[in-house]
């Protein structure tokens, strides 16, 4: 087997890595945002519940949650390792993303909300048209960090047998006895993925930024 075959075998796992990320990250964002809104605007009880959610899901290692969900889910429902892995990563990410969105909402709120109410907007309108648009921009830098984390954590699903990058590197490393090369190749591919994503999000941040004179 020559090197290009070697590399392309590992690289073909990228599809799975990207797949896991593209399920986990948006799922985390959707759930995280809803929970964050509940946390900040939902009243005392909601805030306590959200706090608990955050503490629990950020307090256990992602790997543990991965195993719990995988075994729980594949016992009851017919879910593949890919989906079980993706969804559990999504759940873990949702707790971190909730904190990110919450932080952004709190950085905006207060005065902007008051000014919006003073013009006659209802609370819901004020959150939707004044607070959220500003919060989104504040959330991008920490969110880009979270995106990088999810891409890297996707390697954990290798333990469930999903044929993503790391798994493939392991398989071909074993069969060729060239572990170092295999894992280094995997590392490079991950690095490129993370780098590209961070660059993309930086670009997005620039595009969305609110103009101000230096």
């Amino acid at each position: 087997m020559d090197f290009s075959q070697f590399l392309s075998y590992i690289a073909s796992g990228t599809v799975y890595t990207v797949g896991v990320t593209l399920i986990a990250l948006p799922a985390g964002l959707l759930i995280g945002t809803i929970l964050a809104l509940l946390y900040v605007y939902g009243g005392k009880v909601a805030a306590r519940v959200m706090n608990l959610y955050s503490t629990v899901f950020r307090g256990i290692p992602p790997l543990v949650l991965l195993f719990i969900l995988f075994f729980a889910v594949t016992r009851g429902v017919n879910l593949s390792a890919f989906w079980a892995g993706s969804l559990s990563l999504g759940m873990v990410s949702s707790a971190y993303q909730m904190e990110i969105v919450r932080g952004a909402l709190l950085s905006v709120s207060g005065d902007q909300l008051m000014a919006a109410r003073a013009v006659g907007l209802s609370r819901l309108q004020a959150i939707r048209y004044v607070v959220l648009p500003q919060a989104v921009r504040l959330a991008i830098p920490p969110w880009s960090n979270e995106a990088a984390i999810v891409i890297k954590d996707s390697s954990l699903v290798y333990a469930l047998g999903v044929p993503e990058i790391l798994r493939r590197a392991q398989l071909i490393g074993a069969s060729s006895q060239r572990y170092l090369l295999a894992y280094l190749s995997a590392a490079i591919i991950y690095f490129l993925l993370v780098y590209a994503t961070t660059r993309l999000l930086n670009h997005l941040e620039q595009k969305l930024s609110i103009p101000s004179n230096p």
Binding site: V56, G59, I60, P61, P62, L63, V64, L65, F67, I68, F71, A72, R75, E99, G103, A148, K152, D153, S154, S155, L156, Y158, A159, L166, A169, Q170, G173, R178, Y179, L180, L181, A182, Y183, L184, A186, A187, Y190, F191, V194, Y195
Partner: protein, 225 residues
């Protein structure tokens, strides 16, 4: 429910042993990470252009690739070059080298925050550059970094779970052993999760205590994430 609680009694000893290994891994990883991280931070803040680039590259690589891959390279890959480590040592190394990259960023952030003005003040009374760094900047920077740095020990504690994949006998490994005995994977791992939560809470409380104890009166500290 009762059987679940029973797991703690049945496997309590094993879990405790595994938790001990986990804490050990965390401590060693944190220590290596701190020393190396501090060096990296100093290199980035005060080193020559070349040193800054090298440190920057190190940080980019270790933060840009999964820890699991780094672990595998150290444990499975390096033997091909003649460098072989035991599981535990490989784990220490991977955790430490990885943590260093993150700690370097926390430390660099607070060094910069304290930075230039204090450097001027130190030099103005005749201290050399490195004396100023040692006696003026670092004492303040380390305290300032504590709140955000506190994320790292907790993060590391959780991260250590993956080393069971190279057969290090930590809490996860004990969990797996218990699970294969009872066949109740979900229940056992839930119990393991509880043990991690307890450790995280305890560590968090310890860190908050440290923050309070070492705070410089009157100095503005940013709140933790």
């Amino acid at each position: 429910m009762l059987t679940w609680l029973g797991y703690f009694g049945r496997f309590g000893q094993n879990f405790l042993r595994g938790a001990g290994v986990t804490l050990e891994l965390t401590a060693v990883g944190l220590a290596i990470g701190f020393v190396l991280g501090l060096l990296l931070a100093l290199a980035r803040s005060y080193g020559s252009k070349w040193l800054q680039r090298a440190a920057g590259a190190y940080i980019a690589v270790f933060r840009g690739t999964p820890l699991l891959v780094q672990l595998f390279i150290i444990y499975y890959g390096l033997p091909e070059l003649g460098i072989a480590f035991s599981q535990t040592v490989a784990a220490y190394l991977a955790l430490g080298l990885n943590s260093a990259a993150y700690q370097a960023e926390y430390l660099r952030g607070s060094i910069n925050a304290i930075g230039a003005a204090q450097m001027e003040a130190g030099r103005s009374i005749g201290l050399s550059k490195w004396q100023t760094i040692g006696y003026v900047i670092l004492p303040q920077a380390l305290r300032l970094a504590l709140p955000s740095w506190s994320n790292e020990p907790i993060s590391l504690l959780k991260t250590t779970a993956i080393v069971f994949l190279i057969a290090v006998q930590d809490l996860m490994a004990e969990g797996r052993r218990a699970a294969t005995t009872t066949f109740d994977f979900v229940g056992i791992y839930l119990a393991v999760a509880v043990v991690y939560l307890v450790m995280v809470f305890a560590l968090d409380a310890l860190l908050k205590f440290l923050e309070r104890k070492t705070a410089i009166p009157g100095m503005d500290i940013e709140t933790r994430r």
